[in-house]
Symmetry: C2
Subunit: 322 residues, 2 copies
């Protein structure tokens, strides 16, 4: 086989990040473009331009393109059946992209490809069973089961953020009609909501004074003040970590995984988030599962989606050759 490479594309609600990857997942060239608020036609044009720009500078011939997109995807058709932040719902995304690019195109949920990146070259390398949770605005979920990405009967599975841990909890976000999902209890959005609440209740804390001074209570601010020793910020992270731990304990009992990988912006808080999560897991999970699994931070940060999308394209290439 002559040297060739793939292009991995991470499409988010606000940006597209594309890169050329070798078969060892080394990234050669990156292109970043904003797509916030674009209507469908312009969105597709920007994505095509990003891929073509990467292709023009790729070190080898490009054999396939992989996409990670923040949508539920019906893998039988390549159509996005649910898309919160992008105007591509009910569009045959895979076929449109293959037509525009003249290349084989593979599409998966962004959280599934992030899990694939961790499995191929990150924190879940060498295991057979891994649960990957990406904590951001929402919670993305990816599953590696018996050494493969698990996608469900029609490719829409692993919505791991939408597991209820508090049946009478707050209403979930976006298109989810549920209450008390892990996503509304332990995401970056939950961290900001609880941080704002605690800041209001404790006006004398550093967090309270920051809010009174007009600062937005972001995850970054909470993490910064917690590292400075502010109890209100520490308690906020402990609350979110504890909720996360309830969810992790559930996933240990359900999957008996080798490893649970936690990624996304929120993990910048490190042990201030993860120690309360681990304590909750120790108190709740069945001992056999608890004693087997490691709970670790993701290896890939903002490039997880792009690397995983490239890994998806490589996997599909190898399947065709085999």
């Amino acid at each position: 086989m002559s040297p060739e490479c793939v292009i991995g594309v991470d499409l988010g609600g606000t940006k597209v990040l594309a890169g050329a990857l070798d078969d060892d997942l080394t990234v050669h060239h990156r292109v970043y473009k904003t797509v916030h608020g674009l209507p469908q036609r312009e969105l597709i044009d920007v994505i095509v331009a990003a891929v073509e720009e990467v292709r023009a500078t790729a070190p080898h011939e490009v054999a396939a393109v992989g996409f990670g997109i923040p949508c539920l995807i019906d893998q039988r058709t390549g159509v996005a059946t649910m898309a919160v932040n992008l105007p591509i719902r009910d569009m045959p995304f895979r076929d449109v992209m293959a037509e525009r690019l003249g290349l084989p195109v593979h599409v998966d949920n962004d959280a599934n490809v992030a899990a694939l990146a961790e499995f191929k070259a990150g924190a879940a390398q060498g295991v057979t069973d891994a649960v990957v949770l990406t904590l951001g605005t929402g919670i993305g979920g990816g599953l590696i089961l018996d050494g493969k990405v698990y996608r469900g009967a029609i490719g829409s599975g692993a919505e791991l953020g939408h597991m209820v841990i508090d049946r009478d909890g707050p209403r979930c976000q976006g298109n989810c009609p549920n209450h008390g999902c892990l996503e509304v209890m332990a995401s970056g959005t939950a961290l900001m909501r609880e941080g704002t609440r605690i800041a209001t209740e404790r006006p004398g804390s550093l967090l309270g004074r920051a809010l009174a001074g007009g600062r937005e209570v972001t995850g970054a601010l909470i993490t910064e003040l917690a590292h400075d020793g502010d109890e209100a910020a520490i308690d906020t992270l402990a609350l979110i970590g504890s909720n996360l731990g309830v969810g992790i304990a559930n996933y240990l009992n359900i999957f008996n995984p080798d490893v649970v990988v936690i990624g996304g912006g929120v993990v910048a808080a490190g042990d201030l988030l993860l120690e309360p999560a681990r304590r909750e897991v120790a108190a709740r999970a069945l001992p056999t599962m608890r004693d087997h699994a490691r709970i670790v931070v993701a290896s890939f940060g903002p490039e997880a989606g792009m690397v995983g999308a490239g890994a998806l394209a490589l996997d599909e290439l190898r399947r065709e050759v085999a």
Copy 2:
């Protein structure tokens, strides 16, 4: 291959049920023995006797024996790592049985083999992805994913009853240290507990009068009175059904299965239990998952474990031949 058959054995906390099965899972001969309270040595003797009795009357040569046992099993070693009601914890059950019987022996969790029975010849036949919940004293869970039983990294997965749906709910049962698990919210035990509570709160109801008259509030009594139109009994089943629905919605979002199969004694209540569950699912699950999955009653009743244990032995035989 000359005609041969397998023996399936369902071992419970109180009984052992063994039967000879053809390769189409037809059961030929059944032996039932009680094992309640036996110490380990006598327990093993009774099991061996039951298998030998079936073997003596089997229509063909017996090629292998499968066991479904109510334990967590480390599939790397065949050792039961957690056994609530049987004195076989930390015992090399598989190897001991193979030695005593002089036959290949395969062991799995009772809920896993019940799922296998539904997949091979029951309510989950012909699908690729199924979630099987067996509601009894506890809740047994089995997973068919991508057309195979999913067991987890060391074979202890699919403890589907031990998923928290109410993080501050009641303490769970047996060896589970958790709170608000599906098992403590929607099992037969939960039905009896909530039925007793509601009977006490409503002394004028049929259920209340039955309790006052000295009857035990069993699932069978609640179901009988609900069919007679007693609102207290109907509300009890609706409460348990609603809790079950929260759990099913979680499993739809996590697995995107084709079918969710509900078995065990509690399903005798039929739609009085399942309609409230379906309403909860309709209100909570993500639409893509909800619209794809069927929620159905199990095909196998008390013989699910025996049939599934036989199916396990057959699967392993075919794997060796292939």
